[in-house]
């Protein structure tokens, strides 16, 4: 098992060695120059040839119900209101009988993958989409399940997927954060969902509330306060002074991380303002995505993917809008209407720009919902079996993988645990999940802990 050196470490170790050779005064300067060298902190070699270079995750926070969208379950109607013995339906909360999904399914694309009427615009893209029908996770509560989907475990000190991917692959664009989390508002758990855990702080996600699209409001204090010339001089002085301070302090990681993030901040002023500026999109592109926070999030994600952001998450909305404990059908009609057009536009747009082939798009919630009813017309959390989909980035589209039982409750055939999902996503990024390790507190940690299998069948 190979332990990968953290990017920062490998860089700074070599720099430190250089410093020692050069001696104090010059050393500071040398370090400053090296830190500014954009080539030095760029991408790292993958374990194997990657199929995807970046990931966009569309996060339906709250948890959608698979059989409403991609996993038709006619048996629900047959046994409506009943609790048949053929499946163990016990969940954490008390639910009543089976509640059929009222949405009609039709085969989509050449592949004929069934999709419900809730997604009329998205369904023509199913030939690029691989539906995972049998995902399962470990916890039926939002907070822990959100953490599991992001970090594989509930332990708050563990890094999230985006942090691992940056650690493994480095950043493609030094002038933007490599890991961006878009949410119009905030999910029910906050920064823990994009933490770098024990990995260096440079790998943490950057949270962006895109409820207001003014670029300078998306990222606070983005507008340069001084002329470009003066700021360049200031940056040079920061480098010189912080480098000298660092030399006397053994290259303390937290000091290095701040030096690094100062550089990123400087470049972000121009790069981010441009990247986050949706007004630069054409009218027809804006129209193809439609209106609303989720549409804007998808379009921002495409702009960021285009600019090399490694991992972009788009949370559907503030809080947990997909948490439909009441009036599920009506709620899901509205939710589906909100995502249908933007998802379709995102795939089309990526494809048209040649980005879909190396951009992996992931869709899903932190868990699914029960086929049984709660409060009469709602659905409870269900972590035993739910649907997600993958597209682009080396995914074999036009297929479904795995099955839930006849009621869509529990992963029955080819179950996909979160660890399997993570292993597969890392694999597509060119990383072997068993070799992507980090030594911390006396042991090698990895995203998938001691589990995880790459699902070969979803790979093109």
């Amino acid at each position: 098992m190979m332990t990968r050196m953290p990017v920062l470490d490998s860089l700074l170790l070599s720099r430190r060695a250089a410093l020692q050779r050069l001696g104090g005064g010059f050393g500071g300067l040398a370090l400053a120059q090296m830190l500014h060298d954009p080539a030095s902190a760029a991408t790292l070699p993958a374990h194997h040839p990657p199929k995807a270079k970046r990931v966009i995750q569309l996060f339906m926070n709250g948890g959608p119900f698979g059989p409403d969208f991609f996993d038709p379950k006619p048996a629900l109607a047959k046994y409506a209101g009943q609790r048949p013995d053929s499946v163990n339906l016990r969940t954490e909360r008390k639910t009543a009988g089976l509640l059929p999904s009222p949405f009609a399914f039709a085969p989509a694309g050449e592949s004929g993958v069934p999709v419900s009427e809730l997604l009329p615009r998205f369904s023509p893209h199913m030939d690029d989409v691989c539906v995972l029908r049998s995902v399962h996770t470990d916890n039926p509560n939002h907070g822990p399940a959100l953490q599991l989907m992001n970090a594989g475990v509930v332990v708050p000190t563990r890094p999230t997927f985006g942090a691992w991917s940056l650690y493994g692959l480095g950043v493609e664009n030094e002038s933007l954060p490599g890991y961006v989390v878009l949410c119009p508002g905030r999910p029910v758990r906050f920064s823990i969902l994009w933490t770098s855990g024990f990995l260096p702080g440079a790998y943490q996600g950057t949270y962006v509330n895109h409820a207001d699209l003014t670029p300078s409001k998306l990222l606070p204090f983005l507008q340069p306060a001084r002329s470009s010339d003066v700021q360049q001089q200031q940056m040079e002085l920061f480098r010189q002074l912080n480098a000298e301070h660092l030399v006397e302090r053994h290259g303390d990681r937290q000091l290095e991380a701040r030096i690094q993030s100062m550089e990123t901040a400087f470049r972000m002023q121009t790069a981010a303002a441009e990247a986050f500026d949706l007004s630069q999109e054409t009218k027809s592109t804006r129209e193809s995505y439609g209106e609303g926070h989720f549409a804007n999030g998808c379009l921002l994600a495409r702009r960021l993917a285009e600019r090399g952001v490694r991992f972009t998450q788009v949370y559907y909305g503030n809080g947990q809008p997909w948490d439909t404990h009441n009036d599920h059908h009506n709620a899901v009609r509205k939710l589906a209407a909100d995502i249908d057009r933007p998802m379709a536009a995102l795939l089309a747009d990526l494809k048209q720009r040649g980005l879909l082939e190396d951009t992996l798009v992931v869709w899903g919630g932190e868990f699914g919902r029960t086929p049984t009813s709660e409060n009469g017309n709602g659905r409870d959390h269900n972590h035993y079996g739910f649907s997600m989909w993958l597209a682009g980035g080396g995914v074999k589209g036009g297929q479904t993988y795995g099955e839930t039982d006849e009621f869509g409750f529990r992963a029955a055939e080819n179950p996909v645990h979160i660890h399997d999902l993570h292993a597969t996503l890392l694999h597509l990024l060119g990383l072997n999940h068993t070799r992507l390790t980090y030594r911390y507190a006396g042991r090698d940690f990895r995203l998938t802990d001691v589990a995880g299998n790459v699902i070969q069948k979803v790979i093109a």
């Binding site: 104090g24 005064g25 500071g28 163990n88 954490e92 008390k94 470990d138 916890n139 509560n141 939002h142 907070g143 822990p144 475990v153 509930v154 332990v155 920064s191 933490t195 702080g201 440079a202 943490q204 950057t206 990222l219 606070p220 204090f221 983005l222 507008q223 340069p224 306060a225 001084r226 003066v230 001089q233 200031q234 040079e236 002085l237 920061f238 010189q240 002074l241 912080n242 000298e244 301070h245 302090r249 053994h250 303390d252 937290q254 000091l255 991380a257 701040r258 030096i259 993030s261 100062m262 990123t264 901040a265 400087f266 972000m268 002023q269 035993y384 529990r410 992963a411 179950p415 001691v450």
Partner: protein, 765 residues
């Protein structure tokens, strides 16, 4: 935390235990049953209909077995179906997350060792038995007597007190040496921040010579006595109790929250014993002989988050919202004082800790008998008059609101009456504190499907155990009482009024050892950067174990013996050689103690946002040192009071605070996790605040050279001379940006901005 509690932590805990298993005997009660409790009890124990007729709660049942015969054959894991099923991943069934590999191995070792129990098992399993067994959990144990700790001769060169002997003992075990004392300048800066949250400036700065031990002690005592001490330490507390100055306007007001904040500052400055600190915050209204100003202490509960109660909705819905409020308050109280998440037992027995649903509802009764209200801080005689006048004014204002035309003669009369009452009532304008009072709330139907709220001051009530947290499914009434596991015999009844005073007394008496350990650990984390227990609000089974258990026990016992004096405790910590170590550390220290948990060096730390902002204001001479009072606007660059006084808005945190890891004020925050992000650096580059602060130091006049200006800047900001390199870089910068030898104000400000944003001023060695 919502009605669901998270699971899945036990992995790490037990991995650590498995490591220790070679040295100590594995007992069912301590090591094995907790695993089963977390993963198996639901089907094989607590279920009315035991799965496979197997009960895993007692070893005798395991040996007897269920439908498939004995589950455990002592001495032979190979023949024990229980082990086989765990190993094969068949249990828990259906791919449900179960024991991890280390835990399964621990079970195997326990079976091989003959499946021992620590003591003879009773015939029947009972919750009470489980609680009895877990009384011996490390954090619940009695504190050891404080013994004189003698420093061994070979330790004398470095150690200054008992803390150091414990630290040395820990270092010995991992083969590390402590680091020598930090240079005086570093130490002075460190101890200033530790005790006051401010840097040494001008007058306190900086002895050119090495600080002698005696001088250091005098410095410490001076800082402990300064009013800034309370300002710095109050913030630790305010994080825990989710202090806010403002809540969303549809919720109960927090307009005079500062009275509570100021009470906390004073309590630290006056060294109010921690036991009394606890008692007054929970029940100042039940303690005889306190001056009325002490009612402000009740802000702990008086400023609790409230949730919107839409009275158009049914009583069932509103009752649930009320129950959510209880939940948050129990969570804050139990985690703050006890480091236990009692709120996890709202729906079911705690999965990891010996806390039952009955425990939860016994405490919830106290909370449900205490309602948020406001109260003038004056003797009853005056208070009654002012309260009556206030009522009268509210009624008059309601009448006035009925007149849309302000000009009408009647409205003028009403306004006149209001003024008469306000100005005619002595002390009418004095601020009222946010408090709780003994009172119960009835959520009642209004018509068919609406709700009305009725408060009954002076009343209190016991609650039933609501099964699965479901208010529609009440079980037996539980009397208000303290947690069973922390009570040596029958739990203390919490029945005087709401029971808050009894609860407070129980926290510092029955639960005194735990309460002391928890606060000692919090204070330690403030002084040393990280706690002896890494999970400061979880001292239960899911939490981390202390890195230095004997030290924690010693300090906790010392705290109690010293009459719960927090100042003495802090003093002992900062006087230790451990605290005075340099943060450079040896190569071995960095390699084998990477996060300095063994304290083989003093950990370097980033200043928190309060300390950093105050630092910059103080160094540029702009800090407004006024104590106490109404909170102010942090987003206004000219606001120059300490960050502590910046307004904190629940659900809408100030951007600067949010960027720098300040907690959301909507729930208990056990500790802040420092992060480093580009967005923080954008604040340094571009925020109006930074520009304002950078304009704080005047450009030295009289045509001084760039080099002299640099020297002046270093003297003021870093309290040291600039190195040659720093002088050269600085002078070059000033000249370049000024466009010549004559230095310009903009260049000077741009220069100071860099110095203020440097790592040297952001981190503490």
């Amino acid at each position: 935390m919502g009605p669901w509690c998270q699971t899945g932590w036990i992995g790490i805990v037990v991995t650590a235990m498995a490591g220790a298993a070679h040295a100590v005997e594995i007992h069912f009660e301590e090591s094995i049953r907790p695993l089963f409790q977390a993963h198996c009890f639901v089907c094989h124990g607590e279920a009315a209909d035991l799965a496979g007729k197997l009960d895993v709660r007692l070893v005798r049942h395991l040996q007897h077995g269920g439908d498939s015969g004995p589950a455990v054959v002592p001495g032979n894991r190979g023949k024990s179906p229980l082990y086989q099923k765990l190993q094969a991943g068949e249990m828990p069934p259906d791919g449900k997350r179960g024991l991890n590999a280390a835990e399964i191995e621990l079970v195997g070792q326990w079976i091989d060792a003959g499946a021992p129990t620590k003591r003879p098992e009773p015939a029947q399993f009972s919750e009470a038995m489980l609680i009895d067994e877990q009384r011996d959990f490390w954090s619940f144990r009695k504190l050891p007597p404080v013994q004189a700790i003698s420093i061994k001769p070979e330790q004398r060169e470095w150690a200054t007190g008992p803390i150091d002997t414990f630290i040395l003992h820990g270092l010995d075990r991992v083969g590390l040496q402590p680091t020598p004392r930090a240079p005086s300048r570093v130490l002075q800066r460190r101890v200033h921040f530790a005790l006051t949250g401010l840097p040494p400036v001008d007058n306190d700065a900086v002895a050119p010579n090495e600080l002698s031990s005696a001088e250091y002690v005098r410095l410490v005592d001076r800082l402990l006595a300064s009013p800034e001490f309370g300002e710095r330490w109050s913030r630790m507390w305010l994080d825990l109790v989710r202090y806010v100055d403002e809540t969303p306007n549809y919720l109960s007001s927090a307009e005079r929250a500062w009275l509570y904040r100021d009470w906390i500052i004073r309590a630290f400055n006056e060294d109010l014993p921690y036991s009394e600190f606890v008692r007054r915050q929970l029940a100042a209204d039940h303690i005889e002989g306190l001056p009325p100003s002490e009612f402000a202490a009740l802000g702990l509960l008086g400023l609790s988050p409230t949730f919107w109660k839409e009275l158009q909705l049914s009583p069932e819905v509103i009752s649930n919202i009320v129950a959510d409020e209880w939940d948050e308050r129990i969570d804050t109280v139990s985690r703050t004082f006890l480091g236990l998440s009692v709120a996890c037992a709202r729906c079911h027995h705690h999965k990891f800790d010996p806390i039952t649903a009955a425990d939860y509802y016994a405490l919830a009764g106290v909370i449900a008998s205490s309602q948020l209200t406001e109260r003038p801080m004056m003797e009853p005689v005056s208070a009654t008059v002012v309260q009556a006048a206030r009522k009268q004014v509210i009624a008059l204002q309601a009448d006035l609101a009925k007149f849309p035309q302000e000009t009408s003669a009647l409205a003028a009369i009403l306004r006149g009456q209001i003024e008469t009452v306000r100005f005619g009532t002595p002390r009418y304008e004095e601020p009222w504190a946010h408090v709780v009072e003994d009172s119960v709330l009835d959520v009642l139907p209004l018509g068919d499907d609406r709700t009305k709220l009725e408060y009954h001051p002076g009343k209190s009530r016991d609650l039933p155990v609501y099964r699965r947290g479901n208010l529609a499914d009440p079980g037996d009434i539980v009397p208000r009482r303290f947690l069973s596991v922390l009570s040596p015999g029958q739990p203390r009844l919490l029945q005087q009024g709401s029971g808050r005073i009894d609860l407070a007394n129980a926290l510092v008496m029955e639960a005194g050892p735990l309460t002391a350990r928890v606060i000692v650990n919090r204070i330690w984390a403030q002084v040393f950067g990280q706690g002896l227990v890494a999970t400061p609000s979880d001292f239960g089974r899911q939490g981390d174990r202390p890195t230095h258990p004997e030290l924690l026990d010693y300090l906790a016992a010392k705290l109690v013996e010293d009459g719960w004096s927090m100042k003495r405790l802090i003093r002992e910590m900062v006087l230790s050689a451990t605290f005075q170590q340099d943060s450079s550390g040896s190569a071995a220290s960095w390699e084998h103690d990477p996060v300095a948990q063994f304290l083989s060096r003093m950990p370097r730390r980033r200043l928190d946002i309060e300390q950093w902002r105050d630092n910059l204001l103080a160094l540029t001479g702009k800090l407004d040192r006024q104590l106490y009072g109404v909170a102010g606007p942090l987003d206004q660059p000219a606001y120059a009071r300490r960050t502590l006084y910046g307004r904190v808005v629940r659900e809408e945190l100030n951007t600067m605070l949010r960027l720098y890891d300040f907690p959301e004020a909507s729930g208990h925050c056990p500790n802040r996790a420092p992060t480093t992000t580009p967005l923080q650096q954008l604040f340094v580059l571009n925020s109006p605040q930074m520009l304002q602060w950078a304009a704080g130091l005047p450009l030295p006049t009289n045509n001084r050279s760039a080099e002299e200006c640099v020297n002046e800047a270093y003297r003021r900001l870093f309290q040291r001379a600039a190195t040659k390199l720093e002088r050269d870089h600085g002078a070059a910068f000033l000249k370049r940006v000024s466009g010549g030898e004559a230095l310009s104000q903009p260049a000077w400000e741009a220069y100071l901005q860099v110095l203020l944003g440097s790592n040297e001023l952001m981190f503490l060695d």
